[in-house]
Symmetry: C2
Subunit: 569 residues, 2 copies
């Protein structure tokens, strides 16, 4: 493997992509506080400057005249003499590398990138375990965020200019490529900035590279009269939200090559990366994942579980054009609002400049709690416990086991839901001959077996994307399909079905998509409810759809829609 290793070592550096930086991002200066760092390090100096590197110690910050207990794990930045040397408290059970602030890094990046022990742990995990094969010299850098929404917002601010029809010509309008159904929070972030939303068609794998409406089609036939050709892409590459699609490696490569050709930066939002489901076989595209030889992948992550996952776009990112968003929301807790961005160092440096004047680093409390979990208690004064049974931190091994365990739990829920949905796809509907009172016609003459919906078992993530076959409904043709779909959605929320699903319209990045085809889809999430409820609710969904397919009276549809107009709750 030495040859391979040396190939990696001799990789060229990432491209200079600074032509993509926004005007504001180009204009951002470094915090001048960094000029003081070297003075902080003078032994015995009293810091009356009051310009502190944002650093934490996990001992109570109890001002004179204590008034009672203060929050546990209180975090303080007061620079005692001991601290002034840019040391951090020792942790037990972890390697020395994690114990020291890297002074060089601190001087270069400042302190907005995160609580040093956590930053160091995540940087190492990201570079060595998650993405051991990033193909540019020196590899990627990271910066902590207040979750992926924050990470996306900062990436967009770094990489796109605001545009306003009031004041600027259309030729200056920038654009962003998105999947034709996507996470609307991202759309709501970029739309007010004046960015043009440019949807790309999808199949069961996710974004299409070729064919009508695929990435090549969109980029090669771009009409400059509509604005600039998009130089950004937002994509959820694994277990896509809402469709559940996961991009295979061959598809990733195709899409990446197009992004190289047209100089597009890829913002990869990948909260579900660890939730890939190997048991989904018997599905054509599944083979495109599992049988894929990991060409170019010369280094192991060190863990069978991580090696088994379709790797990030970063693993083929020779240019350094991938900005990857990770989050603890799906692994530690939804409300923890902690994540990190991984990208080439120059891009991370620009994002850091924004971080310094926006959120600064994430709350020391959440960082300290997560660090304690992963790395272990902080010094002898900390009576907390790490994540391991012995009270030490999980370390990388424990963290990977945790991720694998989560995958198992979600995969089980997914299989329960999809099994029930698979069994319930079909129903019998009247051929329309069955008028009241006529009972002599044989059943095979009056009913048809029809398919009510279709879906692909997701290879990753938390969602099943159901395509309703509205054309098989007895009332098809007698009312608008959008109305039928909305009535079904409402019907499902009534007793005894009582299931709330997400209509495809709310994942349609443009109103035209919602009106044209968005209403055909429902997104079902198997992750937000417990195992037993997944099963019961899936059954109720099937029953609800069945009972809706039994409706032959338009009045019932109108009644459901009327209830909605009056408001239900």
């Amino acid at each position: 493997m030495d040859t391979h290793t040396s190939v990696i070592d001799e990789s060229p550096p990432p491209l200079d992509l600074s032509h993509h930086y926004s005007r504001t991002s180009k204009a951002r200066a470094e915090s001048r506080i960094k000029e003081f760092y070297r003075y902080f390090a003078i032994p015995g100096i009293s810091n009356l400057a009051g310009v502190l590197p944002e650093r934490f110690k996990l001992t109570p910050n109890r001002p004179n005249g204590s008034l009672g207990a203060i929050p546990r794990n209180t975090v303080s930045t007061s620079l005692s003499e001991e601290d002034a040397h840019l040391s951090v408290p020792k942790f037990s059970g972890t390697s020395d590398r994690l114990h020291e602030i890297d002074l060089k890094t601190a001087l270069q990046y400042g302190t907005a990138q995160g609580y040093p022990p956590l930053y160091t742990f995540l940087r190492q995990f990201t570079r060595e375990n998650m993405h051991p094969n990033v193909p540019y010299a020196e590899g990627p850098e990271i910066v902590l965020t207040c979750g992926s929404t924050d990470g996306f917002n900062k990436s967009v601010e770094t990489l796109s200019n605001e545009w306003s029809a009031e004041t600027q010509p259309i030729s200056e309008r920038e654009g962003i490529l998105v999947e034709e159904f996507c996470y609307m929070n991202a759309i709501q972030c970029v739309q007010p900035r004046g960015l043009q939303i440019v949807p790309v068609r999808m199949d069961d794998e996710g974004m299409k590279a070729t064919g009508h409406g695929g990435l090549r089609d969109v980029l090669s036939n771009w009409d400059e009269a509509m604005g600039k050709r998009p130089h950004l892409m937002y994509t959820v590459s694994t277990g896509q939200n809402p469709t559940g699609a996961t991009l295979s490696m061959p598809r990733r490569k195709e899409l990446y090559r197009l992004c190289q050709q047209y100089d597009v930066i890829i913002i990869e939002d990948d909260p579900y990366w660890h939730l890939q489901f190997p048991s989904v076989i018997g599905h054509d595209i599944a083979r495109r994942y599992s049988s894929e030889p990991r060409e170019g992948a010369t280094k192991s992550s060190g863990f069978e579980f991580l090696d088994s996952l379709v790797p990030s776009y970063l693993s083929i990112d020779v240019d350094g054009r991938v900005v990857r968003l990770d989050t603890f929301s799906k692994t530690i807790s939804p409300g923890c609002r902690l994540g990190w961005i991984t990208a080439q160092p120059a891009l991370i440096e620009r994002i850091l400049r924004i971080t310094e004047v926006a959120t600064q680093q994430p709350s020391g409390f959440v960082q300290a709690i997560v660090a304690e979990q992963l790395i272990g208690p902080h010094g002898s004064n900390d009576n907390g416990r790490g994540g391991g049974r012995d009270g030490k931190g999980w370390a990388v091994e424990g963290w990977v086991r945790w991720l694998a365990g989560l995958r198992g739990a979600y995969e089980r829920r997914m299989r329960r839901m999809c099994g029930i949905l698979d069994d319930g796809k079909y129903t019998l509907v009247s051929k329309g001959l069955c008028n009241k009172g006529i009972k002599t016609v044989e059943p095979w003459n009056i009913v048809d077996k029809v398919q009510m919906y279709d879906f692909a078992w997701p290879r990753g993530g938390m969602f099943v994307w159901i395509e309703m076959q509205l054309s098989t409904h007895p009332l098809h043709g007698r009312t608008e399909p959008g109305k039928l779909s909305h009535a079904l959605w409402l019907h499902l929320t009534t007793k005894p079905y009582l299931v709330l699903v997400a209509p495809g319209t709310i994942f349609s990045p443009m109103p035209e998509i919602a009106e044209e085809r968005g209403f055909v889809f429902y997104r079902l999430c198997f992750a937000a409810v417990e195992d037993e409820e997944v099963e019961a609710a899936s059954h109720r969904f099937v029953e609800g759809v069945n009972s809706f397919w039994a409706k032959e009276d338009l009045g019932e549809i109108e009644e459901l829609l009327g209830v909605d107009d009056r408001g239900r709750v």
Copy 2:
């Protein structure tokens, strides 16, 4: 007092200031997830939609197949049946109002404004205790932030348009008024957006309303050829950073009236509000605070301590043009990154829209920890303790006692530092007659008593602003004053003085101010070091300045500056 109360109740609503919203802010739509809220509330419904209001419960979120302990206080948003009714866990020792999510508020604002119990507590504290006399109908609203830097950044994004010399005429350039010396993080936030920085002159009270360079002068003589007249002001009204100045009520009123006249929105950053020092008397302007009758102040905060503080600009904000930033950084912990914005509801609503697509609400961990401290443990499953001795939450009473206690601790440090500085202002310098070897001249002929520096005792905050009297230095006139000041700054960091102070240049919002007069000032912070060190370091500062005033050889100055160029550490 009934008459007064009814006057307040009959106050007109705040002005519609939407003409100040940025283009992006005007374009922000509400999250569509809110459309689902009423369905969440259907009894027994299974939420397969997976669109969750960001809500927390303080019980462990332990997925099946537990792999070990998970972080204490893990916050989860999983909607169990019990949760689906938009209830929250009961707290002990607090009023019922804090126990319930206000469904109406949730429907109106969404969930980005914060963890409901904490949001409710802070909203009530803000409206009833901090600012009981906000003079517009219905009073202000709040939204939680990731600290004041985040709050400022979001306020700026809501209230100003980016401008670029490349693409836009100067007539579209917006501006922001700032104190002539100010917190540079704010400048570094707005400058890359293309905003023009417009400094206003200060005196010991803070921003000047009248006179050369005062607010009236700047606004009334505005030259439109330089860009739009500023419609924003950034000000630290109490214990200003870096000057320590605190605006008296008469000055606040003068400045506010000018802001009304010229339609300026005031962003009041007030992290030191609770750190006002009543013991600073014998200073002319002190009387302008303490003897001020609280005209118009009809309601008490309920606490003598809060009533004794110079109130916020909000207390005179008849128009609703004040956006106030508060933070827990100076009261709970510097690294906690939690704060809130207070302003008229329409403005808060726009800031919420940004929050939804940027940070979302602050980390549930820090919110839960602070809520536990203030309100108490969350339900019977929570084995945490509140801030009180009995393990219950501090409640408002305890919180106010805590703030008063902090004030006392900082006031003591301030007095120690200022006492030593006062005693050390003067030194004896040679008249320049004292050549080597000549010992017959009488001492009173060869030395002068000169003042080395001057300062005003701060009436609030954490800083003392020292004006060096460089003209009294023996080498004055033989080298540039800026060099002299920098050499002194370096000299102070050497043994045996070992004090690091912040030079005025780094608080100069424009290079011209740094070059013209910024170098004359040093900011000393008495808050970042313990009592004993404050005393010792203040003495060493005085000794360092004294020994610097003894230098008569230009070579020594050059040597100090040379050391700097080579790098010290």
